[in-house]
Every structure is written in C-alpha cells, then in structure tokens.
C-alpha cells in the first residue's frame, strides 16, 4: 500500500498538508465539537448565560412530538424517494441497454436533470403544480382531483417526492446502465437459447447480478433524500403545510436559525451526525465486500 521510494523532507509535507488541515480543522472538526458541546448546554436567547444541562436537550427531543413527527416524515420521504427513484431509473436503464441505435441520444437527454440545482428543481415542480397557474394542477383539476399542496399535506409530500426523484433519476440511471453493461452477454444468450423470455431473464439473471449496484444506490439515495433535498423542500413547500414536509434537516435549520433554539438544534445536529456515520459505515462495509467479489 505504501510507496517503497519516497522523498525525505521534514517540513515540506506539512506545508503541503497545511491548507487542507486548516480548513477541516476550522470548518469541520471545531464546529462539530461545538455542536456536541452545545447539545448538552442551554443558553438563553441573547447568549448571555449558558447552563450545563446534560442530556436534557436530547430528552426534550425525545418528548417533542413535532420532532418525532419529523422523523416519521423523513422516513416516508426518503423511502419513497429511494424506491421510486431506483425503480424508474432501473426500468429506463434496462430498456436503454437494449437500444443499439440512438443510445447516446437517450443517455444525453436523461442525464440532464443532474445539472439542475435542487432549489431550481423545486421551483420548476412548484410551477407545474402551483394551484392557480400550474399546468399539471389544471389537468388534475380537469380530471376531478382538486390539487392544492398548500393545504393538503399528502399533495405537498407528493410534490417534493416527485421533484427529488426527478433530480436523482439521471444519477441512478448512469450507475444502472454501467452495471447492466458489465453483465456478460454470454449469460443472457445462454438463457435465451434455453428458452427464457426477456421478462424471465431479467428476474433470474440480470436483477440478481445487479444487486450490488442496487444496494449501493439504495444507500446513496437515502443519504441524498436525508441531506441533499433541503433546497427542494425549502423552495417548493417550506416544510409546509403545517410541518407535513419538514424533514429532519429542515427542522435543524428552522429551529437553529428561525426559532433560535441553539441547544435543541445542536442536539438535532448530533442525532443527524449519528445517522450519517451509520449510513457511511454501511456504505463502506458494502464497498469492501464488493472488492472481495
């Protein structure tokens, strides 16, 4: 793993490392330590007095119904985003893999949304579904569905899920396509000679061989839904109506910067940190397994 030959210098490596270490120290580790510290403290709104309160902030969170509701919202939101995103992009990738002529064209047209900023994606979907001007909202009304995500929590959830899935399709699609193209054609042909139809071949050969990709994407999509969708939600629904689309990250932001509850917000940050660490560990255990394949 290490190089046998290397440069000898006492000071140069530290000079080279300095910028990176300074930034991670100042903007990552110090604030993270502060968050840990604040999570066991309670300060008043003006920041004049700070009391040590132990685990009270966490206990308050546990007893806070809006926080538990936010957990539930996040769970619903991220499972919908992950499952829908993976299903749709797998279907598209399977069909795109069959195409010989024009494959590049489809690919180029499908990877577009990756470049769109989440906040802009939120605005675009808001525009489609805005109750008074949105085209899709108008069509839905014409079909007898009274669409109003400003009043109906389910509609609001559907709106942010659609925007989040739309943005993530391109990413999943590219990984599935790469996974499909690495499956040996001889396996598929052998099954075809044995008389297996496309549908059967997909479930008995392609899908099992793709499972490492699928699992990897599942983790990535959950992380995405947890952390990278803040902008979509802030642009499209602002966590509303009520708190129906306020996922955990939105609540951390709202409590810390709008409601100025530093201790509570820090405790929520710590909970989120634990979640990220767990997800990262799962992801890397899996990556190691893939190497042994």
């Amino acid at each position: 793993m290490d190089k046998r030959v290397y440069f000898r210098s006492k000071w140069l490596p530290w000079v080279l490392m300095a910028p990176q270490l300074a930034i991670i120290g100042l903007f990552f580790f110090w604030p993270a330590a502060q968050a840990l510290l604040q999570s066991v403290q309670q300060s008043d709104a003006f920041g004049t007095s700070v009391d040590w309160v132990g685990l009270d902030n966490f206990r308050n969170l546990w007893n806070d119904e809006t926080y538990l509701a936010s957990f539930y919202t996040t769970a619903v939101f991220s499972s919908l985003v992950a499952v829908l995103g993976i299903t749709v992009s797998l279907a598209l990738a399977v069909y795109a893999d069959r195409v010989i002529k024009g494959a590049m064209v489809y690919k180029t047209l499908l990877i577009w949304p990756y470049a769109v900023a989440p906040a802009v994606a939120g605005v675009l979907w808001l525009f489609l579904f805005a109750p008074s001007v949105g085209v899709v909202a108008y069509w839905l009304n014409a079909m007898g569905i009274e669409w109003n995500h400003l009043l109906n929590g389910t509609h609001a959830m559907a709106l942010v899920v659609m925007a989040a899935v739309w943005k993530q399709i391109s990413y999943n699609f590219l990984f599935f396509l790469a996974g499909l193209q690495s499956i040996p054609k001889s396996l598929i042909e052998a099954a075809a000679i044995d008389g297996a139809r496309p549908w059967r071949r997909f479930w008995t050969i392609v899908f099992p061989l793709l499972s490492p990709t699928t699992f990897f994407l599942l983790v990535i999509n959950i992380v995405y839904a947890f952390f990278d969708t803040f902008a979509i939600i802030d642009a499209a629904t602002q966590g509303g109506p009520g708190k129906d689309t306020a996922i955990l990250v939105y609540k951390v932001y709202f409590d810390g910067f709008k409601a100025m509850d530093l201790g509570g917000s820090a405790a929520q940050s710590v909970v989120l940190m634990v979640i990220v660490i767990a997800l990262t560990v799962v992801q890397f255990r899996f990556v190691e397994k893939k190497v042994n394949y």
Binding site: L16, V120, V133
Partner: protein, 283 residues
C-alpha cells in the same frame, strides 16, 4: 439485444421516449414560460408553445427590472457570484486535495495516517449536521457576505483527496526513481510528472465539483444577507417568496433557465468526464 422482435424494439423505444418526455417536460415548460407574458401564464391553462417575449423577459431578469413582488436583484450580478463561487470551489478542492494526497503518498512524516483519516472522516460531517457552529466560526472570522465565506468552508474534500491518493498509488515507482536520477526535487516531480498524469482525473473532478459549487443552497442561504452576494440559486428562491399569482412567472422562469444553463453546458460538453467523475468519486 438477443432476439429480434419488432414488438420489443417498439416497446423499448416507446418506454424510453416516454421517459425522456417526462424528464424533459418541466424543462420544456420552463422554457415556454420564459417566452410568454406574465398575463399569458396566469390564464390557465398556459400556452404550451413558445411565445414572442423571450428577449424582453431575459433582459428583465438579467437587469433585475421585472415587476414581481419578490426579490428583484439583477440576475447578471448573481450569475457572476455563482460563477466565481463554483470556479473557486472546484479549483480549490482539486488544488488542496492534490497537494495533500501528494504529501500522504510521497512522504513519510509523523501522524501521516492520522491526517489521512482526519480528512476521510469529514465525509461524515456534511454542512447540514454542523450548520449552527460553522456559521458562528465564519461570522467570527468576519467572512459573512464575502467570496471567502461562500467558498473556503466548502473547499475541503475527502473524496477528491481519496481519489488522488488511489491514483498516485498506481503511478509506477520507476517514474520517481528516474526523476530523482535526473535531479528533480519533490515539487518539480509533482508539477512535471504527477499533475500531467492526473489530467483526466482532474477534468472529471472539475465537472462534478463545478456543479456541486454552482448548486449550493443551504450554505449561501446562511452566509449571505446582502443582495449583491446572492448566488443565482438563492436569488430564484427569493423571487418566488411572494404569493403565487402576483409573481412574474415569466421572469422567474427566464432566471431559472439562466441558472440551469452553465452547469447543463458543463455536463453536456464534458459528458465523458462527467460520467467518469461520478463513478470515480463514489468508489
């Protein structure tokens, strides 16, 4: 394709065309809305073909003369902020990651692996889990409403460092021996051998990090409060903060198109590196 069946081929293209249409529809409608007058959009259903007001809408957005109820900062200025931010973040991340990966692979120094793991652990500390305290650090350093505040805290990169380290480990040791034989010092070796060899990785990372920088939302939302430092992504959100009928959707949508254009162009023009970058950064 294993068998030749016209129906399957037809189905394949039908599904893909449908997929492309659904994916492209919001973008299409955005473009259409940006060519209409605001009255035409408010009349439901809005027209689905381009109107004739494209130039004036884009000019109104660019100069900030739209008459909507939300924020009216000129998009031209915001585009410059976004561009500078995205470039500084992308280039900064690549530069400091190249340097630290070089130090980790080509030198022996105390706490070397500790440094590596410290960089690696930052993967587990996204902005979202430490927003309050990080904001405080930036505020105490007086970096609010500045390019430094917008970019420096986002420049550290575990993925890029990891990627370059993996790549440097595969560089044959004979190259280093040969360079030393010719009398090249460490920095000379870095500039004339390692950097040219890493060109494709650098290009791939650049695409990914440029998009990452351009699309930042939460962080700029916290550290910028003055209109002339808003990136375009924040600007567009502020435009829709009024009610949904009195808004000038045509100008908002023109802004959206402008905001999407640079990252979309980068993805389209550098598609090969984009795909490589995506795959590499997730390893």
């Amino acid at each position: 394709m294993v068998e030749r069946r016209p129906f399957l081929t037809f189905l394949t293209h039908a599904v893909l065309v449908l997929g492309v249409l659904v994916v492209a529809f919001p973008l299409y409608l955005t473009f259409i809305a940006s060519t209409q007058t605001s009255q035409a959009i408010v009349q439901t259903p809005m027209p689905l073909l381009p109107g004739g007001h494209m130039v004036e809408n884009y000019l109104a957005a660019w100069n900030g003369t739209g008459g909507g109820s939300g924020g009216k900062a000129p998009v031209g200025q915001m585009m410059i902020v976004s561009l500078v931010t995205a470039l500084v973040i992308a280039i900064g991340k690549i530069a400091i990651s190249l340097l630290s990966a070089f130090a980790i692979v080509y030198f022996r120094f105390p706490f070397r692996m500790l440094c590596f793991w410290a960089i690696f652990i930052t993967l587990m500390l996204p902005v979202e889990v430490r927003i309050g305290p990080t904001y405080k650090v930036v505020a105490d350093l007086g970096m609010l409403n500045s390019y430094a505040g917008l970019t420096i805290p986002l420049i550290a990169s575990a993925t890029a460092t990891f990627l370059f380290r993996q790549f440097f480990l595969t560089v044959p040791e004979e190259l280093l021996e040969a360079a030393r034989m010719d009398g090249a010092g460490p920095m000379r070796f870095f500039w004339d051998v390692l950097v040219p060899l890493s060109k494709t990785s650098i290009a791939a990372l650049f695409v990914i990090q440029f998009i990452y920088g351009w699309n930042q939302y939460l962080w700029p939302l916290l550290v910028t409060t003055s209109e002339d430092m808003y990136p375009v992504v924040i600007g567009i959100k502020r435009m829709i903060s009024g009610g949904d009928s009195e808004m000038e959707w045509n100008v908002v949508m023109a802004t959206a198109v402008l905001a999407m254009l640079p990252p979309a162009l980068v993805v389209m023009l550098m598609q090969k590196w984009f795909v490589k970058g995506l795959v590499d950064t997730e390893k």
